[in-house]
């Protein structure tokens, strides 16, 4: 398989694993994304993460899965999306959610225990988080089938052609459903891009437990291109994902993009990564920090100082919003589980709801 660059720019990328065919229909050249915008979104994403960890420590959240180190993979991939594309995330895509315009306070509900989801998936064109590993990938494939049936692929009309971007982790590639999703996407040439953030750990299991070959090379066996990029280089991820999404929208079928990166924090705030990995490994990856790498590629001087000051101010605002918003998240209504089990409440649920609300009311009157 010839090696070729996964991106059009000059940014450092990992060797590309498989070649990708060109799009069937030429598409308009992509608008360049302002590097300052990418840096800003990564910095805010990191701030959301840091603040959420603090909120968890203060007892405001039950749990938080940190994305420290994965900002470039997420922000880069998210900037490759068109508004009409659809996103299927795991539970760690806080940076994608930010770029997709989801209020970060809404991300917290699931982890605070006030909701099981939060935002409107249609409004933001991003599904709610999925906690069962791999389950969302078949949904992404089915959604892509719908797009094809709607005739929104390969029309060449900008703003009409659509694709699906589905996220997965390196652990996820072992699940049967993930492999089923790859089979279907390949067999039907579906407009779906699988973006694997290979952060090298699935809780305590290193990548070697899941695979002998890089994730990107798996795609070859299913019959679609696999591309491996430096997941800490936001431009590399953006370029590769953009190319893959454009191909998908144009009718060129699925792609598996592997963004090689590293999870620098424990799996979640409940995890103790000291039990399974070394600090030295972490230090090596901290030295390839995605935010620092993005800054390195930018102009120095007054412009940069102004940008940093501006971004810092924005981060402060987001953090303050998050702190206040978290505590102000409305407590769920005890009737909510009954009301939202089905579109219409069944007679049996009606009885159970009445029974439950009477019980809750009886608790409120006791001192």
């Amino acid at each position: 398989m010839p090696e070729r660059s996964a991106h059009s720019g000059h940014h450092g990328v990992m060797p590309v694993i498989a070649d990708a065919p060109g799009p069937d229909h030429p598409t308009a050249p992509p608008e360049p994304v302002d590097p300052a915008r990418l840096y800003r979104d990564m910095a805010i994403t990191r701030r959301i993460d840091t603040e959420a960890i603090a909120l968890q420590r203060q007892g405001e959240l039950g749990l938080w899965p940190s994305l420290l180190g994965q900002e470039a993979a997420q922000v880069g991939a998210a900037h490759a999306l068109q508004p009409q594309d659809m996103v299927f995330p795991t539970y760690r895509e806080h940076g994608v959610a930010w770029v997709r315009g989801i209020d970060p306070v809404e991300l917290l509900g699931l982890f605070r225990g006030t909701t099981l989801g939060g935002w409107d998936p249609q409004q933001h064109r991003m599904n709610t988080y999925t906690l069962v590993i791999g389950a969302q990938l078949l949904h992404a494939v089915g959604y892509a089938m719908g797009i094809v049936r709607d005739g929104d692929v390969g029309t060449g009309e900008p703003g009409r052609d659509r694709a699906v971007l589905a996220f997965l982790g390196d652990g996820s590639i072992s699940e049967g459903e993930t492999n089923e999703a790859f089979v279907w996407a390949a067999a039907q040439d579906l407009p779906v891009v699988f973006l694997c953030q290979n952060n090298q750990w699935a809780i305590s299991a290193p990548f070697s437990v899941q695979s002998r070959v890089p994730v990107a090379r798996r795609a070859d066996g299913f019959g679609f291109p696999g591309i491996r990029v430096d997941g800490n280089d936001v431009h590399a991820v953006l370029d590769a994902t953009r190319e893959a999404l454009e191909r998908a929208r144009a009718g060129g079928g699925p792609t598996l993009v592997e963004a090689l990166t590293y999870r620098r924090n424990p799996h979640t705030t409940s995890d103790d990564d000291g039990r399974y990995r070394s600090g030295a490994e972490n230090d090596r990856w901290a030295a390839r920090d995605p935010l620092a790498l993005a800054l390195d590629g930018m102009e120095t001087g007054d412009g940069r100082a102004a940008l940093l000051a501006e971004v810092e101010q924005e981060c402060e605002q987001v953090a303050a919003r998050l702190r206040a918003g978290c505590r102000a998240l409305p407590e769920p209504d005890p009737a909510a589980p009954f009301d939202h089990t089905f579109a219409e409440i069944t007679p049996e649920l009606e009885r159970q709801r009445a029974e439950h609300l009477a019980f809750v009311a009886s608790l409120e009157v006791t001192p």
């Binding site: 099981l116 072992s174 699940e175």
Partner: protein
């Protein structure tokens, strides 16, 4: 005898079985170096090696499916499913294969496989981390479904389950994982000691004697039922508490005998109400003790909704108050 948490008791049970029988293997996500997300397997890989305590790839169908094959090859796999809500990718292997292989092979192929699943709510977790899937499994012929309510039972029943020649779904009430209780390990564990008799695994147990009302509970709700019985006693009602221990097979004899004495029955479980374990128990009791019943059998359960966001779980889950209300209702009927 020492006081131990349920996690500690399970860990000791696994250790003694790994020592007793070199064919016992532990399989699961993160069971090795991490010791499992609840630390049930803590230190076991260090002591028994990564061939016996195996960190698997992230795939539940894989964990159970390979356990089936290992059992065919003469091993006794003990699988860990990380959380209740993640067993479903493995359900195909459990229902269509594991449960049927003895029958399919006309009794020639045993399936000594244990599937450990932390289950139930009450710990403030996010979606899929608080579910009670017992009825799905109990409805499948060919697998046993058991759940301990105390550290001692956690230790003993786990060893019995591993000794069992048939597949056992071993449900661990995670809400009680950190509760301490006395545990007497079996003396002289090790290869020579042999497996614990597996006879008792299907037996329910009266954990508090009483005369007015029988409360049947299992797993996480045994402690709740005992608390309720204590309060009821102060209010003048004598509650008998039965820890079911085995959900399938169901020891209805113990329940029926108790109801013949008390004339009243309340069944408690966290799982949804309809089509559940409580319904099965109520059916058996009306069939076998109809003329002894002084009141309808009541169920105190989770509701027929998805498990709610954790801020609602405290009231959604059957607790002491709801149990006491039901006890009073059957008492006054």
């Amino acid at each position: 005898m020492t006081d131990t948490t349920m996690v500690g008791a399970l860990n000791l049970g696994l250790r003694h079985e790994l020592e007793r029988d070199p064919k016992v293997l532990l399989l699961g996500e993160d069971v090795g170096r991490l010791g499992g997300v609840f630390r049930v397997t803590d230190g076991l890989q260090k002591d028994f090696g990564s061939d016996r305590v195996v960190d698997t790839p992230l795939g539940e169908a894989g964990i159970v499916g390979t356990a089936v094959g290992l059992a065919m090859a003469g091993y006794r796999p003990v699988c860990e499913i990380q959380f209740d809500g993640f067993v479903f990718p493995a359900v195909n292997q459990i229902v269509t294969q594991l449960a049927k292989i003895r029958h399919r092979s006309a009794g020639r192929t045993a399936m000594p496989v244990v599937i450990r699943i932390p289950y139930g709510g009450g710990i403030g977790a996010i979606e899929h981390h608080s579910e009670s899937p017992e009825a799905y499994f109990a409805h499948t012929a060919g697998i046993k479904v058991v759940t301990p309510g105390s550290p001692q039972d956690a230790y003993t029943m786990l060893r019995q389950a591993i000794g069992s020649p048939d597949p056992v779904i071993f449900l661990e009430p995670k809400h009680r994982y950190w509760t301490k209780g006395p545990v007497t390990p079996v003396a002289g564990s090790g290869v020579a000691a042999g497996p614990l008799a597996t006879d008792g695994l299907h037996r329910a147990r009266i954990v508090r004697a009483g005369t007015d009302v029988t409360v049947v509970a299992y797993g996480p709700l045994v402690a709740t039922a005992l608390s309720a019985a204590g309060i009821a006693a102060d209010e003048g009602t004598s509650v008998e508490v039965i820890d079911l221990r085995s959900i399938s097979p169901l020891d209805s004899d113990t329940v029926v005998e108790s109801v013949r004495r008390t004339g009243r029955l309340v069944v408690a479980h966290e799982a949804s109400r309809s089509h559940g374990i409580g319904a099965e128990i109520a059916a058996r009791v009306q069939q076998e003790a109809f003329y002894h019943l002084q009141a309808p059998v009541l169920r105190v359960t989770g509701y027929d909704t998805p498990y709610p966001a954790s801020r609602l779980e405290q009231d959604w889950l059957p607790g002491v108050d709801r149990l006491l209300d039901a006890v009073e209702a059957v008492r006054k009927y």
